[in-house]
Amino acid sequence: MGSSGIAAKKIEISGVVQGVGFRPFLFGLACAHHLCGHVSNTDFGVAIFIQGAPKDLDAFILDVLEKKPLLSQISDMVSTDTQPLELTDFKIVKSRDTQTRSALISPDVGVCPDCLKEMQDPADRRFEYPFINCTNCGPRYTIIRDIPYDRPKTAMKSFAMCPDCRKEYEDPLNRRFHAQPNACPVCGPQVFLLDNKGKQVDGKNPAQAMALAAQFLRQGKIVAVKGLGGFHLAVDAANETAVERLRQRKKRPHKPFALMAAWDSSLFHHVCMDGDEKALLLSYQRPVVLLKKKALSKSVSTGPAPNLAPDNRCLGIMLPYTPLHYLLLEKGPDILVMTSGNRSGEPLSIDNAHALDAFSHIADYFLLHNRDIYFRADDSIAKIQQGKVRFLRRSRGYAPLPVDITPPVKDGFANILGCGAGMKSTICLTRDRYAFLSPHIGDLESVQVHNFYSATIEHMQKILDIRSMCVAHDLHPGYFSTRFAKMLSCQGLPLIGVQHHHAHALSCMAENHLDGKVLALTLDGTGLGTDGHIWGGEVLACTYEGFERRARLNYLPMPGGDAAVMEPWRMAASLLYKVYGSGIMDLDIPFVRSLNTSKLAFLIQMMKQQVNSPMTSSTGRLFDAVSALLMLCHKISYDSQAAIALEAAADFEDCRTAAYPFDMKTGADGCLIINSGLWVRQMVTDIKRGVPRGRIAARFHLTLAGMMVDAAVKVAQETGLDRVVLSGGVFNNDTIFSHITRMLKTKGFKVYTHSIVPCGDGGIALGQAMAAGALQGKMNGI
């Protein structure tokens, strides 16, 4: 071919294109298309110079987009024509060290099919090696201490590659070319097994450690397992006694346990699963997926223990995602409880010594290994609602991949730090068009979580090379995140307080790329309002810069503050008190009869005197109240327990099931107030009549959905807004979510929901950053 038939292009690709096998992929592709040139990592991603026949070039570009490595994400690809050079081959050019700053860091990824096949092949040198990985799979975020992503800056630095591994590492055509965690049994990390006194029990034989751990699990023992992003506590999930023992030792009486199961295990006969759920379960991110339990005949004797998720419609299930998990499920029970290994209120344990110290009273054995975890990543939790993925927790496998916020953000945004709220917290850093949400940090109540919180901010800023210029925080003065923000402001950073539910709404606007003014239904648990009361049942009219509160549930006292959250019966009493006043004492219903009269009188007195009885418009508290009123839940031992029980109890089979009548009126400030009076009286009448509580629970769900949609309609009439975002933790309730979306659509609204960040407080940080960005005046169209 004459040189006249040769074209050349410069191609720049940005996104997740480093550490994911992108350059070897390009190398292979170039060879396949008979093209010459070179590729190197740059500070934005990769830069390619490529030349050859024009039709081959076009095919090459098409293939880059279509066949890109599993873990890569292309956010931009710019190609420009240039002059061909005298070249005879395609080369991978070594990148300069400091050049990878704004490339994206990949999250940790489940083991790939190729590695799995090798691990199961007795002839392979990595047969049953629990740390097998390649550029398509394995640890990333959790083992990176700094960037650029090179072995010396990872937890692999203490493992020198053997000649075999090094050969793979240096061969551009090998699947392990520049796979930083590359290892084998000769040179890489190893597992070992200790008892809970710290004594090694595997005879210094890694294979024996795996075999024994599996055996102990089969015997019903509790084994702490060091995994990818932290420790799990594992127990045979088919063994009810063993599960109960774990509940007792972990002091976790009711909260559902996450399960890990082999794909061919019997567990999947016990849950419903559609195509989307199956795909989510099998995705390389390997989240815990919430799947509805099937009603099975009693004759089924094998399967999950009944105490895994009591009073819950779902089981949380994930497939194995590390080679070690595969081995464990293969040799041990094929369904395991895999609950996070942490001491109550503390972050996930990641350190061998700490784990031994923190839960030697819980675990009987410890399956450890000698590769450090630098940064913890909890399992992500997700489910499918109406065909879309929704996150309850966005963490391992997803974070720290960014949320693209163009539009509404046009040409960059000051770098902002969103500090999050107080519970299930995450933080958010923005850079240009990207918002990076951290993995799950947890409830900011203990010193250890506080420390993890500040460490996460520092670590994220380092590996993403972001220096925050502005700090956004919740209005609650008692949240550690707020105090942390204020501390940063002492160092000179401007500070912007963002109302909790405004932030919820904005997180939904941002991920849906909405701009301008929208309605927001924010149905939530606890968030401090601008009037000093606790909000959580609002219709807001909002923009990124601000909001008006257009409708709300009427206020109810929370006698005892946080105690009213932990004890839903207090909210039931509060709801009845709101409607019946002191007449509540004379109500002849099981709930009132079940209460100690002097306790109830005391509680009423508290509300009357307004002693530690803050006012709330929270939907979460309304769920608590009704759940307790129906005698489903008196006190809770985990977040949302009462609401979950209420949803599980709801029975929509009866065709007479309909919403209770309700009413609303406009308050002095112009805000529409949704009253409790009418519908509560009807509900109490149902209770008195002995209507089955399943039906009452169903009617409550319909009533709440009806009230909120009606309020939205009224506000829409006043404002002319027809786009509505749904956010707040209550939307984790499938029944509410599906009814409200359906009803709103029927009324002609355009409805926007979450599918990238959680609707709960795990998404707050994004909304905060958006508000701060808007107020800094850098946003498009406002």
Binding site: S344, K424, T526, V565, S598, Q605, M606, V611
Partner: protein
């Protein structure tokens, strides 16, 4: 004066009625030579050395409550503040601001308990003042007391002297006063016998200081409770303080009410308790001395001073977790969702 009468504005006007009230009601109760002289101020000699001087105003509602009243509180409060400086309290002043219409019998009761408290503490009320204000300008009665005490040579206690390794002693059950006042004021009564812990602590302090043991910090955790006081010490001394929840002394009924109200006993007021921060080596001995005092029988070591997390108080909880005991910022708002 008749006990059934009520206080009139004249009682504070400085005229005949005022004078009668002083000589017939106040002086006999607070009987001592310095006050009897009725000069513009009390004159007394003090030995060379360091004096401690403290003042506080008392506005508690209700003025009578189980375990005490506003008068006893006013004397004990200032006695204790002076004692917490390491001083032996000697003289006290009393300023009364009375609402017109108060029953004289109630006033008498209050003055009697002030006299009783002063006697028990071994201090003399040597100067004072009475004002009567129109109805509604104050709530029944406000009392200001100031006190002067003598600091023995060699004593040096202060909030900035806590050192890592020190132990934290609390001289008895916490939150009794706070819970009592709250339940009285708001009509929140369980059938239990909770009462204020109002008590003078100067004898206890004296015994500890005279034992030769080293004492770094003495504080009475009144308003804001043990939690707030320890936070102040942690900040002043630039140290961390670790508490153990299972050691915190809280009476059963008090704990019950606190749980019900959603209040943390660590933030409720005490009026007869002290916090002593002492070197580890002396802790046991100091604890024994405190326990020998009539008001220190239930004293315990509740925690220790550390060099971790300076400025922070951390509670190791019953379930083995840790929780930050923050400085209270106004009202406690719900945070759980």
């Amino acid at each position: 004066m008749n006990d059934n009468d009520t206080i009139l504005l004249d009682h504070g006007a400085g005229g005949k009625v005022s004078h009668a009230m002083f000589s017939e009601l106040i002086l006999p109760l607070f009987d001592n030579g310095l006050l009897a002289k009725q000069d513009d101020g009390a004159i007394f000699e003090v030995p060379a050395g360091k004096l401690a001087f403290s003042t506080d105003s008392y506005t508690v509602d209700p003025i009578f409550f189980p375990g005490g009243d506003i008068g006893e509180l006013a004397v004990n409060g200032t006695v204790n503040d002076v004692a917490m400086c390491g001083a032996t309290p000697l003289y006290i002043s009393v300023g009364l601001i009375i609402e017109e219409g108060m029953k004289i019998s109630d006033l008498k009761r209050i003055l009697q308990s002030m006299a009783g408290a002063a006697k028990k503490a071994g201090v003399r009320i040597v100067t004072g003042d009475t004002k009567v204000v129109p109805r509604g300008k104050v709530d029944k009665i406000f009392i200001n007391t100031s006190g002067i005490g003598l600091i023995p040579a060699g004593v040096n206690v202060s909030g900035d002297r806590a050192r890592p390794g020190d132990k934290v002693i609390v001289s008895g059950t916490i939150a009794d006063h706070g819970v009592t006042i709250l339940s009285e004021r708001e009509g929140l009564k369980f059938d239990s016998d909770i009462k204020s812990d109002s008590a003078p602590l100067n004898h206890m302090v004296k015994a500890v200081l005279e034992s030769g043991c080293s004492v770094h910090v003495l504080r009475d955790p009144t308003r804001g409770g043990v939690g707030t006081t320890l936070n102040e010490i942690a900040v002043q001394s630039k140290v961390g303080i670790q508490l153990f929840e299972d050691r915190l002394p809280v009476r059963g009924p008090v704990r019950g009410i606190c749980e019900f109200l959603g209040f943390d006993p660590l933030y409720l007021a005490n009026e007869g308790k002290l916090i002593a921060i002492v070197p580890g080596a002396d802790a046991k001995k100091v604890l024994d001395i405190i326990r020998r005092d009539e008001f220190g029988k239930e004293a315990v070591i509740v925690g220790e001073v550390t060099d971790q997390d300076p400025g922070r108080v951390v509670l190791e909880t019953l379930i083995g977790g840790t929780r930050i005991v923050d400085m209270l910022t106004g009202e406690q708002l719900p945070r759980i969702c």
